[in-house]
Assembly symmetry: C2
Homo-oligomer: 528 residues x 2
């Protein structure tokens, strides 16, 4: 029995039941639509929404995460499958199942190896640019279906889109989230009533009734070729599910367990592979609906899955008239919400470099492809981080009026002494910046300076290369008659320095605080 | 006229002349030996020691750097040329000249684009492991020549090696450095006197007399294939020359100019390409000899070059009897000194991770190849840097007896309050660690804590992803009735935070120092 079941209270049932019904209404058309985005038959989207959701509910840690087909993963599946389908002679459905299998295996392996921390590699700008780029790709892919080939198609598609935006403006958010299901039901009725198929409106067509067929024939020869896509998909599945679960857990004051999330997502994908599905993930928008609609536990997801299973057991003829232009409109409406221009604006105001990474990722996704885009984004954000730590801020310090604190001379009214230079280095010292910092420090000396104190309060690390640079700086300064002192060295660094010869070679002293260095080096001057 | 010539004093001439002669005596056999290492005729090593050295003297910034053939660059040249020679039908000499041309072009381009800072990518452990690995490769390549095919060969080779080690032990360092030239002269005399060629001792053979032939036929079709090797060679040439120049400049209290170094090395390689040479660099051991022997200016290098030119103009027959086993012994003797086991030991004591990077680089160079080894080393040290900043130290602080300073409770006797948790985060906050830090901070709370102060004195940056993580941490804490405060935020970070909504959303306050936060939050408790 999963943990949540053991602590289940009867008064949680109402919320779970309501949320389960609401999410099922959203997932029924959405699952089919995202299967179409992935280049698969619509019914595969429903298969991927049933057993994988049950599997997640069994081990996943989030009470409100709704696991199933998602725009991001569908598009990535489409790209991975499209490349291989012509070469291998397998159907897209078979390839997608192999991909889900690999994703599941990778996620479970990450759970075992405790690699959850790797998802930190996807910074917020990269995630934002990536999601935005995928949204644009999905929209361009759907425009043709939205407009169709006849006037009736175009009218139905554009009409649905307008109706969705109208509903968002007019309805309260709680009801607005159900708008896609209602509008689609209306559009289906319209097709049936007006016999619009005759006017060239494409419809979904027959959905085979019956539960998902189980079973999977392993195709190990394909795995090497699918692996790169599977690795990236697993990465995106985990980050997307994990960040959504975090947001929701925060609203409830709960915690998310990395390991259990990886297990849950991994199991869901394995189950998707053996139940005729394709890669699945937990997305924020559907999970937020689940939360808002009252989900109190994983039971809400179980109810959604059971309802979708029921829909496949009942006669599915009524689904066959669902008009594709209207379905395309709901997809476009959903994914355009992923293009978070407000987040981009905030990033721009906060730090243009972060906004640059965002835009570069978006452009790379759109022009180079989904996988290449993520790679460009991750590399750019890593390079940006290194570049920032390579050119650190160095502050000249002076004594504040309280006599104890020392602050940047440019920002505060402080007391300084001519023979004594106090510098605070705002960076960890490592091979990438140590030599450059030593050079800059050297260049900041005036001829009157006799004592140089490095305030190390902001130095969180000194690697082996930096240790040498400090030794060389000390030697260079000594030759010019300047003593190098260190102040406020952190404990872990001091432990390490004691195992080197630097402290013996140092011409100056080691002070516990900059205040102590100031007192000692100024009184020495008076005594001379 | 170069700068050093305009400030030349007559009393510097003695030193320069002495050093020029001494280095020429070392370079004559060494240049030929390194040409053999590169898989080229011995005379090419002399060509590469004449005009390139003059070119460096014209623009280079170091007074004592001796530019010419080096073990590192020779081995890299050998590997790059060996791959292409059979495919292209060109001779190794022609290919090596094209390689030198590309190296020169890359270095000059780096000078124009001011890319000198990139050499910081080669950390000390990577440089140490790389040099050590190359040394081992060169030694294994020379063992066959050292032992030769007859007993006389073996005796001569091993005898030379023993004589060199004996000279190092017995002679003062100043004379010891001339030992290779003396021992080789002795060995040559031995060959001439004993007619050892007849006993199967291989000798150098005829050296064509005359100055280096000028000219170069451009082979642009080869450049794409040579470019990867040229990029890495340029990198190694610059780092090796730059670090040697730095060490020597320090002894003289001078500074090294990145841009002029790049120009000097670039020009030297271009000139090497057009004067029948191969890639050249400035190494530490020969430059140190130059410095120790009294070099006062770039004139010492000019004199060395002129003497080598003179040696080529005089009859070169006496060189032809130089025994190859003895030459191999001097190479082995020279490169084994590059295997800096003492540096490895120091790195191990200081930080085993740095020693790990060192060994991994060495092993990769030996097993995978020179270029792959450097790549592995650079990637490992970057990954290590990221890993360190991803799992930072977080200290719980308490008030010291002086009432003003706050230190780690584990290292000092300090006063703490139950309702107030003071944490100092010892890292810049960025996408790679922000979420993990927020999680760790959250987990450090005890139920009694009502106020959480983050001491930001060691936080040197907060990127856009970390900004969100702080906002989320504040929200999570607020839901549990804990207020988040920030103290000692650095000016540049504060400027940035003011452009975001974090400070408005923060439930707690912003304090200038942790002491202020402590006073304020403890007196508030008393007042309640």
């Amino acid at each position: 029995m999963p943990n949540w079941w053991r602590h289940y209270h009867r008064d949680m049932l109402g919320g779970d039941l309501g949320a389960g019904v609401v999410v099922a209404l959203m997932l029924l058309p959405q699952g089919m639509a995202y299967a179409l985005v992935a280049g698969l038959p619509a019914v595969v989207g429903l298969y991927a929404s049933i057993l994988p959701a049950l599997a997640y509910a069994l081990v996943g840690s989030s009470a409100s995460l709704s696991v199933g087909p998602m725009a991001l993963t569908s598009l990535m599946t489409a790209q991975a499958v499209a490349e291989l389908a012509p070469v291998t002679g397998l159907t897209a459905v078979e390839l997608a199942a192999q991909l889900a299998l690999l994703c599941g295996a990778v996620l479970l392996l990450c759970a075992v190896l405790r690699l959850g921390f790797l998802c930190a590699l996807l910074s917020r700008p990269v995630l934002g640019g990536f999601t935005g780029g995928v949204a644009l790709l999905v929209v361009t892919g759907q425009v043709e279906t939205l407009l169709g080939s006849t006037a009736s198609s175009t009218a139905l598609g554009v009409g649905t889109l307008l109706a969705l935006y109208g509903a968002r403006l007019c309805l309260p958010p709680r009801w607005g989230r159900l708008a896609p299901a209602l509008v689609l039901a209306l559009a289906t009725c319209l097709v049936a009533w007006g016999n619009l198929q005759q006017s060239g409106v494409q419809v979904l067509g027959a959905i085979p009734a019956g539960l998902p067929p189980l079973g999977l024939s392993l195709q190990p020869s394909l795995w090497p070729e699918l692996l790169p896509s599977a690795l990236l998909l697993a990465f995106v599945i985990f980050v997307s599910g994990h960040s959504s679960a975090m947001v929701l857990a925060q609203r409830r004051g709960e915690r998310v367990d990395d390991g259990r999330e990886l297990l849950g997502q991994g199991l869901a994908n394995l189950v998707s592979a053996v139940s005729s599905g394709f890669p699945v993930a937990g997305g924020l928008s559907r999970s937020a609906l689940n939360h808002v609609a009252g989900a109190r536990s994983q039971l809400a997801g179980v109810i959604t899955a059971l309802l979708l299973g029921l829909a496949l057991l009942l006669p599915t003829g009524w689904l066959s008239l669902l008009p594709l232009p209207a379905l395309a409109a709901t997809i476009i409406f959903a994914v355009l919400g992923m293009l978070d221009l407000n987040g981009l604006r905030q990033a721009w105001r906060y730090d243009p470099r972060d906004a640059g990474v965002w835009l570069a990722t978006l452009l790379s996704v759109v022009t180079l492809g989904v996988e290449e885009g993520v790679l460009v984004g991750v590399l750019l954000s890593l390079a940006g981080h290194l570049a920032r730590s390579s050119r650190p801020h160095i502050a000249v310090l002076g004594r504040m009026a309280d006599g104890e604190s020392f602050r940047n001379v440019r920002r505060h009214v402080v007391e300084t002494r001519e023979h004594l230079l106090l510098l605070r280095i705002d960076a960890s010292l490592f091979f990438g910046n140590a030599t450059a910092i030593a050079g800059r420090v050297d260049a900041m000396l005036t001829p009157a300076v006799r004592e140089l104190v490095l305030d190390m309060s902001a130095v969180n690390g000194v690697d082996f290369s930096a240790l040498f640079a400090l030794g060389e700086l000390n030697a260079t300064l000594a030759r010019r008659g300047v003593r190098l002192h260190l102040a406020a060295v952190k404990g872990p660094i001091l432990d390490r320095l004691c195992r080197s010869s630097l402290l013996d070679e140092l011409d100056g002293q080691l002070f516990a605080t900059t205040a102590e260095a100031y007192r000692c080096l100024c009184s020495a001057e008076l005594a001379e």
